[in-house]
């Protein structure tokens, strides 16, 4: 399987993501420069974390106008699996490929810490084969991860089963004190209505080997691989 890892100026998790897919998962990964608009030959596209274009105006605000995002939009429209991680999530929201927007964390602090997220759906390319209710431990590292949607749209999102990950305790319980950034409904990850575009704020690539403190993230990366084998 060929995984494309998009590189924006300011991406800083691109090499980690490349490493996790190639060295850890044994897949054929390649970088895709933000000025490229050719995704041919790729089976999946990953938007990694970082600070694309510096995030000076708003997270993802400028990145979404890059040539590669037109290609990603076409790729997604054709049903290709797209995974966004952290800044990649924010870019997908700005591009209109995923719902909602990220507000500043409710504490106003940049948060870099491990979190527990509960898998809510097993029918997305990021969670295939991971039973619903599974709790995964991965790090977050963001200043704007406070997921927001107007309440009525959030209810629609819930009914459509588009909430894929939620911040919980280690044993999978919802609690305000373990919602690190104040996200609405403790949302840590969502997918689009077609379920092929999925993104999360925690970093699976930073939790892909036991030496990193957790290898739970590898299950998400492997799920992407599995989804392609099945497709």
């Amino acid at each position: 399987m060929k995984v494309g890892v998009v590189v924006f100026p300011g991406s800083n998790c691109d090499h980690d993501t490349y490493y996790a897919f190639s060295a850890v998962c044994g897949q054929d990964a390649r970088f895709v420069w933000h000025k490229d608009s050719d995704l041919s030959g790729l089976d999946a596209v990953v938007l990694p974390g970082g600070f694309a274009y510096g995030d000076y105006l708003r997270t993802g605000a400028i990145a979404r106008f890059s040539p590669v995002m037109k290609a990603v939009t076409r790729f997604a429209a054709q049903g290709g699996p797209v995974l966004g991680i952290c800044n990649g999530f924010q870019i997908l929201q700005e591009a209109g490929l995923l719902p909602g927007a990220m507000l500043r964390n409710r504490t106003v602090k940049f948060l870099s810490q491990p979190v527990h997220v509960r898998v809510e759906r097993d029918d997305t390319p990021a969670t295939l084969g991971i039973p619903v209710g599974t709790v995964l431990t991965m790090p977050i590292a963001h200043g704007e991860g406070n997921f927001y949607l107007p309440e009525d749209e959030a209810d629609r999102l819930e009914r459509a089963g588009q909430v894929v990950f939620r911040y919980t305790t280690r044993d999978g319980r919802l609690a305000d004190e373990v919602n690190p950034n104040g996200s609405l409904h403790a949302i840590a990850g969502v997918c689009n209505t077609e379920r092929n575009v999925v993104a999360l704020m925690p970093h699976p690539e930073r939790a892909s080997e036991p030496g990193m403190g957790s290898a739970d993230g590898r299950r998400i990366l492997e799920s992407l691989v599995t989804s392609l084998v099945r497709a």
Binding site: L57, R58, A61, I62, F65, Q93, E94, G100, A101, L103, R104, N105, R106, T107, V108, N146, Y148, L149, P150, G182
Partner: protein, 81 residues
Amino acid sequence: MAKARVYVTLKKSVFDPQGRTIHDALVGLGYAGVKDVRQGKFFEVDLDGLPVEKARETAEEIARKVLSNPVIESYRVEVEG
């Protein structure tokens, strides 16, 4: 030269963590009368060689497409020739 001023603010229904923090700080500084603070963004955009109406159109487009995110923010544009 036309000059546009663009104000981008969080919608009223959207929680503003920065505004809240500034509010708390002001109260801590003794400004007990401060009831609420909302933080926003302000842009001055110089538009060279455009008639005012065209400048307004361009500034509106920039504000809508780039400077604000419609999910959480609203904007207001003022233009002077």
